[in-house]
């Protein structure tokens, strides 16, 4: 187990370097950062040169990348163009997005798995068909439609929530945005759980458990659900990364100043330091989440061993 974790951690290094290099190159290919920085009015050439020097943009790209990576390992992610250190941007943006992601994941786990179990146990019944139809609708409607619709109905028409989230972005304010963000994944979790439960229901160990005379509740939670969760956990694990990076649409609609917002601004203003910094952290989140998922397999199914 310990060796497995170490091996996995070592594997992360090339992935990490490759991903950051790709992002770095992509952002650099997009155009001239200083031109975006100066806005509609061009900065005079002397100021432009000074700014390029300050941000190290006058050097070749490979040198910029090496310097950047060198700094990253000392915890310095550079300075955004508005003069704020990127780490400061991160310290305000990541907690907000993390809260949003937690809300979304909780929705996925609680609603998604519950619905999945219910429908999986009652295949073909009206409840099953109803949920299947509902998930189909959720999957096919884009997030921004769901988001804008809920915002309009709950925020403007009925006045139940505030249409935008305040700067503090507490958990209670993030419920609706979290649900919107979770909606599509939630539908997938439901469907995955349903299929998995329906399949395992006919397996030998469930039949044995029922034959032993175990109570229905225990059969479902300890035997059936535990074994059916492996594909679901895989999906949710990968989803943590997707939700954090892909919250741009939801964050924009509800005016949440999280990772999506900072990334969007960074891309718009060609702010290499911001974009690369945030993506770097997101890559790390992805990698760690994947590792945790793999480790969870053994908990769910003791037959799985790590060499």
């Amino acid at each position: 187990m310990g060796r497995y974790v170490v091996r996995r951690l070592l594997q992360m290094v090339p992935v990490f370097i490759g991903a950051t290099l790709l992002i770095f190159l992509m952002v650099n290919v997009m155009g001239d950062p200083v031109a975006g920085l100066c806005g509609e009015r061009t900065c005079d050439p002397a100021t432009t040169a000074q700014l390029e020097k300050e941000f190290g943009l006058d050097r070749p790209v490979w040198q910029q990348y090496l310097t950047y990576m060198g700094n990253v390992f000392t915890g310095d992610f550079g300075t955004a163009f508005n003069g704020q250190p990127v780490t400061e941007l991160m310290s305000t943006a990541f907690p907000v997005t993390a809260r949003l992601t937690i809300v979304a994941i909780l929705f996925e786990i609680v609603i998604g798995i519950t619905l999945g179990v219910i429908t999986g146990l009652r295949r073909g019944r009206p409840a099953d068909t109803g949920v299947l139809l509902a998930t189909l609708v959720v999957i096919s409607v884009p997030t921004f439609v769901t988001g804008l619709l809920l915002q309009l109905l709950l925020g403007v028409e009925w006045g139940w929530i505030k249409p935008s989230v305040s700067a503090a972005a507490g958990f209670d304010e993030l419920l609706v945005p979290g649900l919107v963000l979770a909606s599509v994944s939630l539908a997938y979790v439901t469907r995955l759980t349903r299929t998995s439960i329906a399949e395992n229901r006919r397996s030998d160990y469930v039949r044995t458990a029922v034959a032993k005379g175990l109570p229905h509740r225990r059969v479902v939670t300890r035997h059936l659900l535990r074994n059916s969760l492996i594909p679901v956990v895989t999906f949710i694990g990968a989803d943590i990364g997707f939700l954090m990076g892909g919250a741009i649409v939801t964050e924009r609609i509800f005016n949440i100043h999280g990772v999506g917002y900072q990334l969007y601004q960074g891309i718009l203003r060609q702010n290499t330091q911001t974009v690369v910094g945030f993506v770097t952290v997101l890559v790390l989140v992805f990698l760690v989440a994947n590792l945790l998922v793999d480790l969870l397999y053994a908990v769910l199914d003791p037959r799985i061993r790590y060499a």
């Binding site: 155009g31 009015r41 005079d44 100021t47 935008s164 700067a167 924009r252 718009l268 203003r269």
Partner: protein, 543 residues
């Protein structure tokens, strides 16, 4: 958020001066500044650190206008430059100016505003090593070339044209005659700075200190700024509300939704998609006022095809093929006005706005358009591609409409197509590095309401915003002459003559003047936008 809610109620209870309704409204965060309620207003994250000479966009400028007062101030109604801190700006030759600063003004930290506050601020702004993005506004002052050389290191730290005479007087020597120089001094770049700015720059940036009607109570970068009324403000334009909370919105649509839901008091940017609904949603609380912004189509004169003689006919033909009336009405719901000259109506007739200066060339006439383009040798390569950035500003809509109009006029489906570029930054780098081969969208938002500002930076040979590199000796000569003219009426007339040169060559195609739009909550009154399309915050009454 529950904790914060408690805190808010506690604050409401403590600040007895605050009307109970202001707390219940929930729209505004932060406490009052001692009398009058606080209003909340939409804001965009400023692109640069908030320093007067480092701000070249509207969002940062908005704050500077609230916390700073300079020598002059542009009348929010007429746009005329009026004395603010300036007691007297005297000159005999339009090149040497003696400026006297009014007595009794202080910064909000108690420091006196003296002539040195101005001279130090201007020297800081001009100095290359401080990398101020609006440094070029000091370029007319003598010694700029030493402080901010185009190449190499600077040889001086201060402008030789600036001299402090005494506490309230300083002199400015310009490197060339520039009669409207005093009128440019209302621009935020020329604001005075307190010693605190130089002594502890980082602390100042976190919470800027100025001499305007508001002070900054707290500033969370990227999300919110709380401004409160400064009660000791000596000026005549004291704030009539307790303060303003500026909330950063990533999307104007959300700000608009918040306004409708009663969660926000004022937005100064109604999104394009809502323009149709805004008058019915907001009734009399919808603002649609002229602003000093003009949209044009510019051409790459560095390109052989577009730079050759006789092309002016093609450009005129293109201009005549654009149905401005229809586009402004259908796409923009009359928040744009078809342009008939190259300036803006906010200048007023006295300031140089001349309706119809463009004449027949800006009138839709498809028949004549086709004829002119043929006479001029046809479109280069048989097609024009209008380049724009696709990430913001919904430019695609109007570019497609303009092309549609041109294609109809020429009876050719492929005569004009839009050519999008992904990001604004990429678009800007391509325009400034002369990498575009066809016409491109151009817009100009004035720095100060002067006809000079609509012409010189855009059309003078090698001027900073002359991205198409248009050049005309006669135009340059007329501008120089106008700048040297001490009589302002005569100067305006000369600028208009220069504008005629622009017209005769159709240097750019003027499309439309842009209005400022906005909307506000019922509890506000006396809301209006100034010629820069920024709300006149000091005038707004709450409740």
């Amino acid at each position: 958020m529950r904790g914060a809610t408690h805190a808010k109620w506690a604050a409401c209870a403590a600040a007895a001066v605050l009307a109970a309704t202001a707390c219940a409204g929930g729209g505004s965060g932060g406490g009052g500044g001692g009398g009058g309620a606080v209003l909340s207003s939409s804001w965009g994250d400023p692109q640069n650190p908030l320093e007067p000479a480092n701000t070249n966009e509207v969002q940062g400028g908005k704050v500077l206008d609230m916390i700073f007062r300079s020598l002059k101030r542009y009348n929010p109604e007429t746009g005329a430059a009026e004395d603010m801190l300036a007691q007297r700006i005297a000159t005999t030759d339009s090149q040497n100016f003696t400026i006297t600063v009014k007595d009794g003004w202080t910064f909000s930290n108690g420091e006196k505003v003296t002539s040195k506050s101005f001279v130090d601020a201007w020297n800081y702004g001009a100095s290359l090593k401080n990398r101020q993005k609006a440094a070029e506004f000091f370029k007319y002052i003598d010694g700029y070339a030493e402080v901010h050389p185009e190449k190499g290191a600077q040889t001086a730290d201060t402008l030789s044209g600036l001299k402090v005479v005494d506490d309230r007087t300083f002199t400015v020597r310009l490197s060339q005659k520039f009669s409207s120089f005093p009128d440019t001094l209302g621009y935020a770049v020329f604001s005075p700075l307190p010693r605190a700015f130089f002594d502890d720059h980082d602390a100042w940036l976190k919470k800027p200190i100025g001499n305007g009607p508001y002070t900054i109570a707290s500033y969370t970068r990227g999300s919110q700024m709380n401004l409160v009324r400064w009660d000791a403000y000596p000026g005549a334009d004291k704030a009539r509300n307790g303060g303003v909370t500026l909330k950063v919105y990533t999307d104007p649509n959300t700000a608009y939704t918040d306004l409708l839901a009663g969660n926000l008091d004022l937005t100064d940017d109604v999104p394009a998609a809502q323009l149709k609904n805004a008058p019915s949603d907001l009734g009399g609380r919808y603002l649609n006022q002229p602003a000093g912004i003009i949209q044009t189509i510019a051409f790459p004169y560095y390109d052989k095809e577009w730079g050759k003689a006789g092309m002016d006919k093609v450009r005129k033909g293109l201009s005549m093929a654009i149905d401005r009336d229809r586009i402004t009405e259908t796409i923009y719901q009359k928040t744009r006005v078809p342009a008939t000259d190259w300036t803006s109506p906010v200048l007023g007739v006295k300031g140089g706005d001349k309706k119809g200066l463009c004449g027949e060339w800006c009138t839709y006439d498809p028949g004549r358009a086709k004829q002119l383009i043929q006479e001029g040798g046809g479109l280069p390569g048989g097609q024009v591609r209008i380049t724009y950035n696709a990430d913001a500003g919904s430019h695609k809509q109007w570019v497609d409409a303009v092309c549609n109009s041109v294609n109809n006029a020429l009876g050719d489906d492929k005569a004009c197509v839009g050519s999008p570029i992904g990001t604004f930054a990429d678009y800007r780098s391509k325009t400034t590095q002369q990498k575009l081969s066809g016409p491109f969208r151009a817009g100009w938002q004035m720095d100060y309401p002067l006809i000079q500002n609509f012409l010189q930076p855009l059309y003078y040979t090698n001027a900073p915003s002359n991205d198409g590199k248009w050049s005309d000796k006669e135009f340059d000569r007329l501008v120089d002459q106008a700048n040297a003219e001490t009589d302002s009426a005569k100067a305006v007339a000369l600028f208009q003559k220069a504008e005629e040169v622009v017209r005769d060559d159709m240097a750019t195609i003027p499309l439309w003047y842009q209005n400022g739009t906005g909307g506000y909550a019922e509890r506000l009154s006396d809301v209006r936008l100034n010629p820069f399309s920024v709300p006149v915050y000091t005038d707004i009454k709450v409740g």
